[in-house]
């Protein structure tokens, strides 16, 4: 599953203000509300569900990357967004490093395959140091989007 299949371009936040784990999860979820991908009425429920998932084990999977996520019955297809923290956020990551790149995913409970394929794509791209570096340096949402599209194009070509 390509980035462009699930990332809402209007919800991309290249410079998040939040400095805490819950703060950034809230900010990213709010960005999905603002982009019309989830409803305002579901915001609290989604933030809580994502935090509950984090309690089971951090989704800070190393290399400065986190993939906070949840399944939620209010969405009919996988929606996601990207945020970048210039300062880095303590995410209790698996490798202890602060998190700078975040991919937040909300998926319908009955589509585990889509969730797996989104994780596959994210982790495949993030093994590439150059991709991580350019993503962190992206100036605006359109720059991030362009990088994601380039990554999509490359993964199709390869």
């Amino acid at each position: 599953m390509k980035f462009s299949d699930f990332v809402a371009v209007e919800a991309i936040r290249p410079n998040v203000a939040a400095t805490t784990k819950e703060g950034v999860i809230r900010e990213m979820s709010q960005s999905l509300v603002d982009a019309g991908k989830i409803t305002a009425g579901e915001l609290e429920s989604i933030v809580k569900a994502i935090m509950k998932r984090e309690d089971l084990g951090s989704t800070g999977i190393g290399r400065g990357v986190a993939v906070p996520h949840t399944k939620h019955p209010s969405v009919s297809r996988l929606v996601g967004t990207v945020a970048i923290s210039q300062a880095g956020i303590d995410f209790e990551s698996l490798d202890g490093e602060p998190v700078q790149l975040l991919f937040l995913l909300v998926s319908p409970p009955d589509r585990p395959g889509d969730h797996l394929r989104a994780l596959e794509n994210i982790s495949r791209q993030l093994r590439d140091d150059a991709f991580c570096k350019t993503l962190k340096e992206a100036g605006g949402p359109q720059d991030v989007w362009r990088l994601l599209e380039e990554a999509d194009a490359q993964s199709i070509a390869s």
Binding site: A49, L56, P109, G113, L119, E120
Partner: protein, 147 residues
């Protein structure tokens, strides 16, 4: 270690090569992803954690690729759905023990009791109350070993 007997015998015949042979022994084992949600972030983390406890190199072979079993990022690139067959390969001095431990992790469905359900806010999370399984006085970190 269980190879002590044969090692000293073989050692007399091929003096310098033999330790390398032990170091590089590769064992493999097929496992099936039983988890309904597939090998998603949490089970991948558990597999990588277990794999890192062992000295041997651990690789996981899927349909189209071979990845490092000690890396959660690598494991996630398998996108292994429920029912997927994977081959675990371990190379090194503790290869058999490592595969026993990893194999039972797959067999026990990664010890994820509540994984078939969604984690919505209203749900009671069972997971947090279950891991306190260690008996005081027992050596820690030997989960699944020795079987």
């Amino acid at each position: 270690m269980r190879l002590v007997g044969s090692r000293s015998l073989a050692g007399e015949r091929m003096t310098t090569k033999q330790p390398e042979d032990v170091m590089s022994q590769t064992v493999s084992r097929e496992v099936i992803v039983a988890n309904e949600q597939g090998l998603h972030a949490r089970p991948a983390d558990l597999v990588a954690r277990e794999a890192r406890r062992w000295q041997s190199r651990i690789e996981v072979v899927g349909k189209a690729q071979r990845v490092d079993g000690k890396s959660i990022l690598d494991l996630l690139t398998l996108a292994a759905e429920a029912g997927t067959r994977l081959v675990l390969e371990a190379t090194g001095p503790d290869a058999s023990e490592a595969l026993d431990a990893l194999g039972s992790l797959f067999e026990q469905n990664f010890m994820l009791a509540a994984d078939s359900t969604t984690h919505t806010e209203n749900e009671t999370v069972v997971k947090r109350t279950t891991p306190a399984r260690e008996v005081p006085g027992e050596p820690a970190g030997e989960r699944g070993g020795g079987r």
